[in-house]
Symmetry: C2
Subunit: 352 residues, 2 copies
């Protein structure tokens, strides 16, 4: 605590430098209007004393409030996945709002690129100090973050990354390794002569970050020289009927598929299909801790779910912006989340 005998604050720095604390404050915050000479002297003393500002006092005295924008998909009827990151945002917000930080959410529609662009524009018009976003639409996210760069607004990606788009931080899974883990689990008890099916279900497969998961999945088979044939299908309509149609056809063409890997949270649609068709000898693995998936996990139709702590991702992303903007601290450029394995037996203790 600052009250202990050996704590040095602005007052002591000012005393040693023979200036007022206002001047010390100017140097600490890199404000203009201080001669090079006094600036240098003060910085030396700061270093010598290893001065640590008291954030409590700083935020208490400051009037300036900091605004963070959060740009994520709206919770839709189709999937309530984005409910969870939202909780992380609220948790972070509750923690830091007493420090004068305000978090404002902006929601876009996952089936409508334009809504992303519209919300992004609103953020820019509003004028914010930091942004956290899920770059669901790569092209549009690129444009938006380029604007942020020009305005020197730091931004953090969650859920998936655009590596070349220098963000303050990426907080999310190592998608390749995640697919790798999926392959391990899927094959752990599999016979080597059987086939494996990979299913991508998304309206935008051509522009789909998550293809890295499939790449990782395949590399597990290569690395371990497994002989199983990997069949792949892309389903571009996310409704059940489309999924059922494609699944029927692929299972008809390949009768000896023993295991299915779905590269995202829509695994529940495949589970519904397997259940309806009474195919209970096929292993099924997919992604994310959402209601529908847990239901099928519980019924034994989904064997494993992989999850990357979406709530924690969002929480950390907000806190990373807070660290940079308020505390002047640095944050890791990449924070890979754990690749969590969820089963019927442990799901009740899972913490998103």
């Amino acid at each position: 605590m600052e009250k202990n005998s050996t704590y040095f604050g602005v007052k002591e720095i000012a005393r040693r430098a023979n200036v007022s604390i206002a001047t010390v404050d100017r140097v600490i915050h890199n404000r203009t209007g201080v001669s090079e000479k006094t600036k240098k002297k003060i910085n030396e003393i700061i270093k010598e004393l290893d001065y640590q500002p008291n954030i409590l006092a700083s935020r208490l005295a400051s009037k300036n409030i900091i605004i963070l924008a959060v740009l994520i998909p709206r919770v839709s009827e189709e999937t309530d996945f984005w409910e969870v990151p939202l909780r992380g945002i609220q948790r972070a917000d509750a923690e830091i709002k007493q420090y004068g930080i305000q978090t404002i959410p902006y929601f876009f529609d996952l089936s409508d690129k334009d809504s992303f662009v519209t919300q992004a524009r609103l953020i820019l018009e509003r004028g914010v100090h930091g942004v956290m976003l899920s770059p669901s639409f790569i092209e549009q996210a690129r444009n938006f973050t380029e604007e942020c760069q020009k305005l020197k607004i730091p931004y953090v990606f969650i859920d998936s990354n655009i590596p070349e788009q220098r963000s303050l931080s990426y907080i999310g899974p190592h998608l390749l390794k995640s697919g790798y883990v999926g392959a391990k689990l899927l094959t752990y008890r599999m016979k080597s002569n059987k086939k494996v099916l990979v299913v991508n279900i998304s309206k935008e497969i051509e522009n789909y970050n998550y293809l890295q998961i499939e790449e990782g999945f395949r590399s597990y088979f290569n690395d371990n020289q497994m002989g199983n044939e990997i069949v792949r299908i892309d389903i571009k309509e996310t409704d059940y009927l489309s999924v059922a149609k494609h699944m029927t056809s692929v299972l008809h063409d390949h009768t000896d598929i023993e295991a299915i890997f779905v590269t995202n949270s829509r695994v529940f649609t495949v589970a519904t299909f397997l259940k309806n068709k009474n195919k209970n000898n096929i292993s099924l693995i997919g992604y994310d801790f959402i209601k529908e998936n847990i239901q099928y996990l519980n019924e034994g139709i989904i064997d494993f779910l992989i999850c990357h702590k979406p709530e924690e991702q969002a929480y950390r992303a907000v806190m990373a912006l807070y660290q940079t903007l308020v505390m002047g601290g640095s944050v890791d450029n990449i924070q890979y989340m754990p690749i969590d394995i969820i089963t019927k037996e442990n799901y009740e203790f899972y913490q998103n």
Copy 2:
């Protein structure tokens, strides 16, 4: 933030009650020396205004520093498991020390009950405001926490619980379910006619919280009506030679053991044995993210490790005390940790 237009603080309460802010402060902190009448009036206004104290200002102004004691096993050559909770404690400490909280660690020796008693006495003599402990020695922990109760010092258990010993909170695994998960993983690819071996390695098996893990493990076999015979051995000396001796003997008596489950972090000694004896067709599952275990996980000798976020446990335990003591908040009486599954493929992203 407090600076917004509609925030009411002690000043406003004082104005409305027609008293000084000092009196308001007395009421807020339940201090003596206020007439029932004014006390009542002030409390009404507090309620009406839904007054939320500003912790920043409170801790900044306060001189009173709060001391938390942490009573955990010393890191020994035998296992560095307790290094990890220590990191959690340090992380919590770093976060709250600026609020005037001090965390003091006390270490005992896992092979010496007396050291626990000695350290516990030191804590009591020191005079602290809260305690977090690992009740490794049940009897001694019971005595100690009874003293704490008399002195009205809140305490939090981590790692394992003593349910009847009313603590502020237990933060750790649901041991029964954890064993259940172990059984699921162990049997996921097993043949039904083979035997399973459960190994308890501990100097104090008779007084061993962790037997619940075995109970959970067994109940999985019951619940799923699995036919596998479960063989069990207790090894009361933790050194490699003793483990090797017992393992040799049990594998000699039971030649058709296909899978081994070790109920704690000493699984690496069994792994060493299997490696030395070139028994690479036996599945092995055990506990905890420690160096030696990860090594064997990586070599493919250990199939899965189960882990309960020991760092997070300790972090939360300290924060729970902080919540109660400083913020006057309430905390959950039981906080079960996730039952994490660690494999060769995902361990590099694991977060303790």
